[in-house]
């Protein structure tokens, strides 16, 4: 398996998860990286992505794993990837592993940086959200109330940014819901384009391991 870490910035925030998958398939085909295909009626490239980002949010750490049918030098893969990917994408790391790292199942926590010049004025209140936060939101026209306190692992306000670490996956707190709450309660005027997902983590045995470190450690 080849596992590639890539950034999705600029216009990439306007591209949906399914369109990114399509773009990755086309990138591999253009790059001449030979990937295995499923053998069903609708044959498709065997690639795995990590979980989708809400529309409008950039990412500096996204992953795609592919079942290569030919061995490649990882540096060569990155070069080919970057020469053939759309402008909004850039490969930054590649590792060949024996088994599928199954990152989408393992990653259960993500870090985000939110640009906000006003947040510093409400630093204490924002940082206290990890002690208790109940969100009210609408889903498919239905009003929901959810206690998300245990989904916030950390939230820190710095000079011009808010940095937070939120649970992801099965127990999920969407960053767009949190930013909407921050706007509603603290009037911060955060736009989705002010948010960048800068890390994906695996939380095991009480320790957060950055997904890159995890992949680096794989055989």
């Amino acid at each position: 398996m080849l596992t590639i870490m890539y950034e999705r910035l600029n216009n990439g925030i306007y591209v949906s998860h399914i369109d990114v998958l399509r773009a990755l398939n086309r990138t591999f085909r253009r790059a001449g990286i030979e990937v295995a295909y499923s053998q069903g009626f609708n044959r498709h490239m065997l690639v795995n992505m990590t979980q989708p980002l809400p529309f409008g949010i950039a990412s500096t750490q996204d992953w795609v794993s592919l079942e290569n049918i030919k061995r490649y030098d990882c540096r060569e893969v990155l070069e080919k990837f970057n020469a053939n990917c759309p402008d909004y994408m850039r490969g930054v790391y590649c590792k060949e592993t024996v088994k599928n790292p199954s990152l989408s199942a393992k990653i259960n926590c993500c870090s985000y940086i939110i640009s906000s010049t006003n947040a510093i004025k409400r630093k204490e209140e924002i940082e206290n959200l990890k002690k208790g936060l109940v969100l009210e939101y609408e889903k498919k026209g239905e009003k929901l109330v959810k206690d998300v306190t245990d989904c916030i692992y950390d939230i820190k306000v710095k000079e011009n940014t808010i940095e937070c670490l939120l649970s992801f996956g099965v127990k999920n707190l969407r960053i767009d819901l949190l930013s909407e709450h921050l706007n509603k309660v603290f009037d911060l005027g955060i736009k989705f384009s002010d948010i960048v997902r800068n890390g994906q983590y695996i939380f095991e045995d009480g320790i957060f391991v950055n997904s890159k470190k995890y992949v680096e450690g794989l055989e």
């Binding site: 399509r22 086309r26 529309f55 053939n84 990917c85 759309p86 736009k191």
Partner: protein
């Protein structure tokens, strides 16, 4: 260049429609003497699937001194934001307002997108009428399939490209480069280019243009440029695949079909050229599907060779090869087994042999039965059937016979497979007489009559299990009929309809019947004048265009139609339509081509 649009993009559906940055985008910052903005009168997903847009964009950007950018009609959400924020409509690539370009060109694919021309001009803050635009505005040009009769919209344009624009577009831009800043001189010189219609340089009397304009035709399609590095969209588009054009023109000669006569003479790309281009396109785009584009790909002379060779390329690259629009009579087991078996599309167009003879659809009931049998034997389970209602000489018996065909197909399926799970999708379009066809003199039925005929078929098909019936709207067909054979009087109707809120009329959810018909009433437009039958000796609004195919031939075909006589496909023998006067027609019955070549 506009900098402030990013903050609004997340307010709209599919913002990637407006951001650009597609893979294979050419260098937009190269020094250039003429900047051209190519507009399409529908949304991004439709326009990006248009092969004409792709060809012109490629040709102009390959020219040393010219840059071509794109602009698609923004969907209503974006249009509202542009209005609210007072932002002029801009190009996708550099976000430059349209009014700052040297030339703005519209590709107009169908009549019901006419109001979108005004929508784009309105958002771009450019006056609608050519007469109201001085030298400070870009030159506004048009083209596309509606150039068979541009008269209803010609008042909005400085010039219109009739026919194929591959060669005339670049010649036009060379003139713009030479006389930049002097619109009158540019238009005067441009009127000398074959295929360029400059209304201000033409004699116009009694509601008709009298100066002759010759349709532009690519002489050698095999050598004609075709984009090998087309843009790869960042979002899914209507035809999300690589496309290669096999040939232009059509051998069949169906008498209702404008494309068949408008795109004559028949010119094709050699099989090796097709395969070579396709390999490059697959490599340069990474698309996982390859489609073959032609009016009737099954009639391509080397279709078996091309498919066999393309299959080698596509299988190696894990690309799916798609075959579009196969004619029933070109159908074969070999071809079918080359494609993925999802559903099969056939267009008998009429229910009875008599009416099929009238429209010159050269297929018989026996052909239909044999082809269906073959199709079911190799595993097809879904069939799409296309018919037309309101054809000249049509009777209620012809409509009832459509249901007979459907019942017969169900019976054949049961016979062949022993099963009853066949899905049949029946689609009935309304006949619209189009310019440059033998039926250009024919009458179009009224909307009331359309409803009556649709209901006959609906009632007849309703009891048949597994049949899904869809039909084209009556009112929209009447409007399309008005514009198809319309004249300059209709520009005021388009303006009135747009001002009352009509645009994106080809979108069912956006079409507003009430607004359109009140605009017709307000403008005093006589519907029957446009949809009614025409006198043979009448000067038609598009008679000033030399299409190659002669009016005499079209008339002879019309008379044969009324007598129920057929004409052989020009695959078998040349019928002398006249399209080969300046460009050789490659009907391949003989090595030399047509008898007149």
């Amino acid at each position: 260049m506009l900098k402030n649009i990013d903050k609004f993009l997340l307010e709209v559906e599919k913002p990637a429609r407006y951001t650009g940055g597609e893979y294979n985008t050419p260098n937009m910052t190269k020094p250039c003497s003429v900047r051209f903005c190519l507009c399409f009168t529908d949304i991004y997903e439709v326009g990006m699937s248009n092969i004409g847009i792709s060809i012109l964009y490629d040709i102009i950007n390959k020219s040393e001194n010219f840059v071509c950018e794109r602009c698609f009609a923004p969907w209503t959400d974006m249009g509202n934001i542009l209005r609210r924020e007072n932002i002029p409509l801009f190009s996708i690539e550099t976000k430059k307002p349209l009014k700052d370009f040297d030339v703005v060109g519209f590709s107009v694919p169908y009549e019901m997108s006419y109001t979108n021309i005004l929508y784009i001009l309105d958002l771009a803050k450019i006056p609608f009428y050519a007469k109201d635009r001085d030298d400070s505005y870009p030159i506004i040009v048009g083209g596309g399939p509606v150039s068979a009769n541009p008269e209803p919209i010609i008042d909005f344009f400085d010039a219109f490209f009739i026919g194929e624009g591959e060669e005339s577009d670049v010649k036009f831009l060379e003139i713009v480069e030479k006389f930049k800043g002097n619109k009158a001189k540019i238009l005067e010189e441009a009127s000398k280019i074959e295929g360029v219609y400059v209304p201000s340089m033409c004699v116009f009397e009694n509601g008709r243009t009298l100066t002759k304009v010759k349709k532009a035709t690519v002489k050698n399609l095999d050598k004609a440029p075709f984009p090998t590095k087309p843009l790869v969209p960042n979002i899914e588009i209507v035809h999300d695949r690589s496309v290669i054009e096999l040939f232009r023109g059509c051998y069949a000669g169906c008498r209702f079909c404008q494309a068949c006569f408008f795109y004559r003479p028949i010119r094709y790309r050699e099989a090796d050229t097709v395969v070579g281009l396709a390999s490059q396109i697959i490599k340069n785009t990474g698309f996982d599907e390859l489609g073959l584009s032609s009016l009737s790909s099954g009639d391509y002379q080397d279709i078996y060779k091309v498919i066999a060779d393309l299959k080698k390329v596509t299988e190696q690259e894990n690309v799916v090869l798609q075959l579009p629009s196969l004619r029933l009579d070109s159908f074969s087991a070999n071809l079918m087994s080359s494609a993925k078996r999802s559903s099969l599309t056939f267009a008998p167009e009429a229910g009875t042999q008599r009416l099929r003879n009238v429209i010159n659809k050269n297929i018989t009931d026996k052909d239909i039965e044999e082809s269906m049998k073959l199709a079911f034997e190799i595993g097809y389970r879904t069939v799409k059937l296309y018919f037309m209602l309101g054809l000249p000489t049509e009777t209620d018996e012809d409509i009832l016979a459509i249901a007979d065909i459907v019942r017969k197909i169900k019976y054949i399926y049961k016979e062949v497979t022993g099963r009853r799970d066949l899905n049949i999708n029946v689609s009935a379009a309304m006949f619209i007489p189009k310019p440059v066809t033998p039926f250009q003199w024919a009458e179009q039925i009224s909307s009331e009559e359309m409803y009556r005929k649709q209901n006959i078929l609906k009632k007849e098909l309703f009891p048949i299990k597994g049949v899904h019936y869809s039909w084209h709207g009556a009112e929209i067909s009447v409007l399309e009929g008005i514009f198809a054979r319309g004249d300059r009087e209709l520009s005021k109707l388009i303006e009135e309809a747009y001002n009352s809120g009509c645009y994106f009329d080809s979108w069912t959810e956006k079409f507003d019947r009430v607004k359109w018909f009140s605009a017709i009433e307000k403008c005093g437009i006589d519907i029957v004048k446009y949809t009614g039958g025409r006198e043979i000796n009448e000067v038609l609004a598009w008679d000033f265009i030399d299409f190659g195919v002669s009016k005499k031939y079209l008339l002879a075909e019309y008379e044969k139609a009324l007598r129920g006589e057929t004409t052989n496909p020009c695959k078998q023998n040349c019928n002398g339509c006249g399209a080969n006067k300046t460009t050789a027609c490659r009907q391949f019955a003989t090595e030399k081509g047509c008898k007149e070549c």
